[in-house]
């Protein structure tokens, strides 16, 4: 196992991917500006809110000019890009504060939620996958598999509402939303932990089927392969056969899965954060989109795109490490 890692190859691949990411990110931000421009929502209306309903046209025109949304699309994009490169992400019109502040305040909560959800999905998915893969067609396998297919089809927000109904309203054991109790004005770890349970569980559950089904397939196939049959024939303990042989090759597809699930977890978080009033990045994305808040929307999209690209890179690196035949793309 103590083989030297191919640092050089890995670094070259990372470098190549980073270069390729530049045009991708540029294209994505331009697309965001263009799509937001084409949307029927009016940024000035969104900014003024209810006050806009009694504001004079002069007042609204002045706002449009102040917010700078009356200028051509390409000009705005180029200006945004120019200042973003120097580290100035601009000001969010919907939050009434600098974009950088909004992101630093919220990013942590989203990462916490997504990481916990990933951990739940991977741990539970692997465990159930191994158990089901060992005896395919068994009772456990059949039950969990059909549940997994059902979960795969269930939208995240629906699961969220179901969880709120059951755990918060019926049983009253877990809070229905927010980061802390309503009456509390300080953020304490134990409160956050209790409020994290439902959203993380729901987000994790939406990802669970993929991990479960992959591991189950991988382990099941591996158990039928010659090396495993050989190991069994040599009288190795079932445990060793499972962890040392079957799981090792069965886990391979899962590595790619981790990377490719990143976009899914981001869109899942959009819904879950909204349902649970979780003060994260995803909830802000929804607000930014409906309010046509260009700077915030662009920054958040860049962040999401970067997360997806990083996820892909990570899974490719891991795959390359786990299976030298794959290598680090050329």
């Amino acid at each position: 196992m103590s083989r030297r890692l191919p640092w050089g190859a890995m670094a070259r691949m990372t470098g190549r991917r980073a270069l390729a990411a530049v045009p991708v990110l540029l294209g994505v931000t331009l697309a965001v500006f263009a799509v937001a421009e084409a949307s029927p929502f009016d940024p000035v209306k969104a900014y003024a809110g209810t006050a806009g309903l009694t504001a004079s046209q002069d007042n609204l025109d002045q706002l449009r000019q102040n917010l700078g949304v009356d200028r051509p699309l390409l000009t705005r994009w180029w200006e945004w890009l120019g200042s973003a490169v120097t580290g100035d992400l601009g000001d969010s019109s919907v939050m009434r504060r600098p974009v950088a502040d909004v992101i630093t305040e919220r990013l942590g909560w989203s990462v916490l939620l997504a990481a916990t959800a990933f951990a739940v999905a991977i741990a539970l998915g692997t465990l159930l996958g191994v158990l089901a893969g060992r005896r395919r067609g068994g009772l456990l396998d059949r039950t969990v598999s059909s549940l997994a297919y059902t979960l795969e089809a269930a939208p995240a927000f629906w699961l969220g509402l179901l969880a709120i109904w059951f755990f918060s309203l019926e049983l009253g054991v877990l809070p229905a939303g927010g980061l802390t109790d309503t009456a509390s004005d300080t953020v304490t770890p134990d409160q956050v932990a209790r409020h994290l349970v439902l959203p993380a569980l729901v987000l994790g559950l939406t990802q669970l089927p993929w991990f479960f089904l992959y591991v189950r397939q991988g382990v099941g196939d591996a158990l039928d392969e010659d090396p495993v049959r050989g190991a069994r024939a040599r009288g190795l303990a079932e445990r060793t056969v499972l962890t040392g042989h079957a799981l090792r090759s069965g886990m391979l597809p899962m590595l790619t899965l981790i990377g490719s699930r990143v976009p899914e977890i981001i869109t899942g978080a959009l819904l879950v954060e909204t349902v649970f009033s979780w003060p994260g990045i995803a909830a802000a994305t929804v607000q930014a989109a409906t309010a046509v808040d260009f700077p915030l929307l662009a920054a958040l999209t860049v962040l999401a795109t970067a997360a997806v690209l990083l996820g892909n890179l990570l899974s490719d690196l891991l795959y390359g490490l786990a299976d030298p035949r794959v290598g680090f793309d050329g």
């Binding site: 029927p40 009016d42 809110g49 919907v94 709120i164 009456a183």
Partner: protein, 539 residues
Amino acid sequence: MAARTVRRATAATVTGALALATAACTNPGADTAGPAGPKDSAVVGIAYEPDTLSPLLGYGKDGNSKIFDGLLAFDADMKLKPALARELPHVSDGGRTYTYTLRDGVTFSDGAPFTAKDVVFTYRTILDPKTNNPSRTELDALDSVEAVGDDTVVFRLKYPYAAFAERTVHAIAPEHVAAKQDVNTGAFTTHPIGTGPYVLTGWSKGEKLTFKANPKYWNGAPAVKKFTMAIIKDDDVRATRLRAGDLDGAILPPNLAAGFADDKAKRTYTAKTYDYRTVTLPTHNPVAGDTAVRRALDIAVDRQTMVDKILDGAGKPAYGPVPTDSPWFAQGTERRHDLAGAQKILDEAGWKPGADGVRAKNGVRASFPLWYLSGDKLRQDHALAYASDARKAGIEIKTQAGTWEVIEPRMKTDAVLAGGGSPGDPDFDQYLLLKSTLAGDGFNNMAWYDNKAVDRALEDGRRTNDHAQRKAAYDTVQRELAENPGYTFLTHIDHLYVVNDSWDGLGTQVEPHDHGLAAGPWWNVETWKPKKNTGDTKK
């Protein structure tokens, strides 16, 4: 779009879930919600969240901002009383100059003294075109503001404006903090510092605002030491959290408030409002612009049934923006529901019934579209009831749902189910709704109403401080509106609140259309006194 869809789906599913939940268990936990001993903290659920907490961007423009004070404030009867000013303003120069003398010894919550400089800074910043304040129009009359010494402020107006004193309930920001920042995006917009009875301790956007009492408040430290406003957009979720004891009070629609009628530990408060629902009858629509059609619709509509069926009785018929119980209401302008009368008006004006029952005149079918905001159940119900009443008189109204982005470009010719209402001076609503020069100006005068007599009376009413003259002017406006109803006013809607019976001193003010932080029984939470009953162990 996604947010809206999700919210609607959320609402639908939660409603379903809640129906089950409430049927399954009238939670025994509800009874344990009652507080033990005097309760010096309160948590209330509201449906609306402010966009900003900076007075410079419009927060606290109608007073009651908790964090800030205005020069003046409204009391329970909506009468002006001094706040940061020592007394009501001295009005001179034919209603063009307002002079305020400021209260001594008031400090901001950071300890800095409040002076005339802060007042001047606040108003000048709002008037600055570079400030992104969408409510600037409300201070349209203001020409200049200046400080004379530390304790006197003089406002000069462009024209005599009788309602100006009511605009000076506007929250005052501290110059020494806010002037050092970007007015539109600085930290002050989310971390405000004011002179008010409460200090903001946290604002988790979309979740809640938390306040603690300002122990040095000039009008006495509040007895409710901790105050939390939870932002819960969904009515059913708010009701459930109130029942579960998570909230001490909440705003609720009539049907949900009725569920708490038997709960002895809670009281329901009904606030009278200026919150109207109306149908705009655009002057540029050949049917809706016709005076005979307008008058026929005005009496064909059955307002009382709308109040009874749509509002569950929590409201009253409306004949104009001024509610019937306001002292400014022109007595005798109520319109009776009179379908036969409506038909007669149409017959005499030459609108003859066609084969399908819809009238026509000179080849023009008596038919026009009516838009309502999609997802707004209350407006939808009003629109459908209105269309059904109109159909009985032979006028076809095609109701359509849309967002404001869809509706706005059509407002010149299509009818809209609109809502609004600002309590206080009769100038506020009537000028914006009826003045012909404001036709098509943003969302003002959406019907493009154009009536010379009304225009003149509106100007007369705002340019004098003489009460009798003002009353006469606004009576004229309302009589003219009855003669040529360019809007069909339908209802004024009561706002209902359910609150734990743990405090003394609760009541409601007359409320506006937008019931934000300022409205509700907690408009005066700073003067609530915890009840010393229950006999439970004290904390």
